[in-house]
């Protein structure tokens, strides 16, 4: 093939252009550590990565949801522990009252029970992040409202919440809740902590009954009715202890699985996106060598012509 004066410079310019483009691409890959950045780099991989990143962001949110539920479960557990103390003391008083016939002594116990009820109401009206913990989804008002007699005794406690648990998602279409209902007399759904028709628990009603029987000196009623009723409340509380533990355990396991899934996604994204740094740097080095060789050989050939040998 005939090589003219412009054939060589044109070819050299093309070769240098190709090598510069390749160097720029490899340098960019080395600097960012990424094989692909834009849709045009690898459209199919881009699609897979975007889908995986969207999933990873959802998983992040599910993790935050779980953390919120764990907060609620922990706060609920703290209340349950205090309620258990109240229940224990009430059972103790009911047992102690069995052998007493002094009205003054019984009145002292009655006053203590009144205080236990007030303390219990205060506990179940606990708020977390501004919302009442035990009111179900009707959580903007205190779920347990007490009525008092003129002499300060608790006459009744009414539940103002509802029997719907505030659930949120911890996975695609998987709902969970760290909350506990204060009352559920519907006979279905999650059990109520204070009042539950299926277990026969009604802690405040039973405490009020104990308070009234103590004040009236009716130790028979205390022994025959209140102690059995309080026992059911105690069992209900223990049931919720267990349920709360199971919920927290489930949330822990789910959180752990989500973290594993995120780690797995990170690896998969890395496989799609990340450049093999060793390979990239070797190729960059090869390209730089080729560029230097092209410049050097081009420079030496371009500088020579027949003119150098003519006088």
């Amino acid at each position: 093939m005939r090589v003219t004066s412009n054939s060589f410079p044109t070819a050299l310019i093309n070769q240098l252009g190709d090598l510069t483009t390749r160097q720029a691409k490899l340098q960019n890959q080395a600097a960012t550590g990424q094989r692909i950045q834009l849709p045009e780099d690898d459209p199919k991989a881009m699609r897979r990565v975007l889908d995986m990143q969207t999933e990873a962001r959802s998983i992040d949110q599910y993790q935050r949801n779980i953390e919120r539920q764990q907060e609620a479960a922990t706060a609920s557990y703290t209340v349950m522990k205090s309620l258990k103390t109240i229940s224990d003391r009430a059972n103790e008083i009911a047992t102690l009252a069995d052998g007493l016939d002094s009205p003054q002594q019984l009145a002292i116990y009655a006053n203590e029970v009144t205080e236990l009820i007030k303390h219990g109401i205060q506990l179940v009206n606990t708020t977390h992040r501004g919302d009442y913990l035990f009111g179900g989804t009707r959580n903007n008002t205190a779920p347990f409202v007490a009525s008092y007699s003129d002499d300060g005794q608790v006459t009744s406690v009414v539940y103002a919440g509802n029997d719907s648990l505030p659930e949120s998602e911890i996975g695609d279409n998987v709902k969970s809740s760290g909350h506990t209902l204060g009352e559920n007399n519907s006979g279905s759904g999650p059990r109520g902590l204070i009042t539950d028709s299926r277990s026969g628990a009604d802690l405040f009603a039973h405490l009020i009954s104990l308070q009234n029987h103590l004040r009236a000196g009716d130790t028979n009623a205390v022994a025959n009715t209140d102690r059995a009723a309080l026992q059911r409340d105690e069992e209900n509380l223990i049931y919720h202890y267990g349920l709360n533990g199971a919920t927290q355990s489930r949330l822990d396991v789910t959180l752990s699985l989500l973290k594993e899934r995120n780690f797995s996604l990170s690896s998969e994204v890395s496989k799609e996106v990340d450049a093999d740094l060793a390979q990239t740097l070797v190729r960059l080095n090869e390209t730089q060598n080729a560029y230097q060789a092209a410049l050097q050989s081009g420079g030496s050939i371009l500088g020579m012509s027949l003119l150098d040998y003519m006088r």
């Binding site: 093309n14 960012t32 990143q53 969207t54 949110q61 890395s270 012509s305």
Partner: protein, 476 residues
Amino acid sequence: MLGLFGTLNMGSRSLSTQRTGIELAGHNMANANNPAYSRQRVSVETAGAFATTQGIQGTGADVGAIKRIRNELLDDQIAREGSVSGSLLAQQQALKYAQANLGQQIDRLATGAEGSAAANGTGTQHGIAEALADMFNSFQSLSTQPTSEVERKIVLDKGASLANRFNQTDQRLSALRSSLDSNLEVDAKSANTIMSEVARLNDRISTAELLSEGTANDLRDARTAKLEELAALVKFEVSEGDGGAVNISIDGTIMVSGSQTLDQIETYDAGGGQMMLRAKNSTSPLNVMGGSLHGIITARDGEIAELQTDLRALAGLLITEVNAIHANGYGLDGSSGNPFFTGNDASDIQVNRTLVDDPRLLQASGEAGVTGDNSVIVGMAQLQTKQQAGLDGQTFSQRYTQIVASLGESISEVNFQVVDQGVVEKMLKGQRDSISGVSLDEEMTDLIKYQKAFEASARLITTVDEMLDTVVNLIR
């Protein structure tokens, strides 16, 4: 027999012939870096012979013709491939603008707005994908505490951020289509200018070739270069005219005939602000098949229009679906009836201003007065994983990533075609250069060759002169 005076005359003609060779070598060397130029060669022919008693005797040499060394087949091929390249390059440029306008890229090193993406190690997405995921996540976050005004504010901010990205992308794509219309007009004007120049060159070539024998090499070179420039803008058909002229027609409409420019390309509004091409005089639409004009129209009405339509449809369905669920909800004050999004598609999607002004009105609850109920906001969050019949069974995110991947495929395909086309063009131009390009080494060699012949011819004249002196001095 020539005789001494005949020989003297032959020497004089030879001097003139060699001088022409030297002049042409100089012309070639002067144009060595002119890309439109094809090297020229002097054709030296023996001068007329005459009969003698000893046989036919020659009388030296004359310049027969000055020819340009050119392969017309290669020129045609290069012009044809130039049309393909022009179209592909215009498409590549337009689609890359669209890709930039979409603003979708993967960044493994950057942190997201909440640092969450950095924490999970998958990197950030930027663009609408990130905003879409953020909005659904904010719905999820609100579902954990539906009464929180802070969470409500975040939901509305994320919704507004997504709406802004849809708006900006749509505006950018509209602006891109509008600027492609401007490019169409500019390229059409350039094509008209080139066609006028070809007509002028046709005129000059006809005149030059009429007045003298041979071809107007330099003018023909200039015309070939103009035709190649025109091919990069629009594909045309060329035919030989009278007197060395060429005629140009586009999509069957004759634009240039000899020295006359019969018609020109103009842009017109084909309806809905869509600029198309037609012949100025005949007003018939031109269906151009190559060149940048073709590339601009293909990219504008193809992938870019599709991208904008798809994004609008995606945003439109998002508005409908989110609002349909939101409509069943109640705000913290028990109010209902406020849409979450206003607008119809990506061009005008906005978060309802009423909600922005009072986040308490966001209808997250499914029961009036029950503020802790989150059934509506959970339903809105679940849209993220819901397969939509209107999106061929894909979720919103999946549909968006498909749109991105589709654009990426188009650019990737055009990139490959541009590279392939570049190889073809380089090979063809390399072949042409090997035939028509100037070699300085060859020209220097010719220079020496003609210089030596010139010296020899001068020596012949000197010798004949001395012989004439001898003859004149025979008798004293």
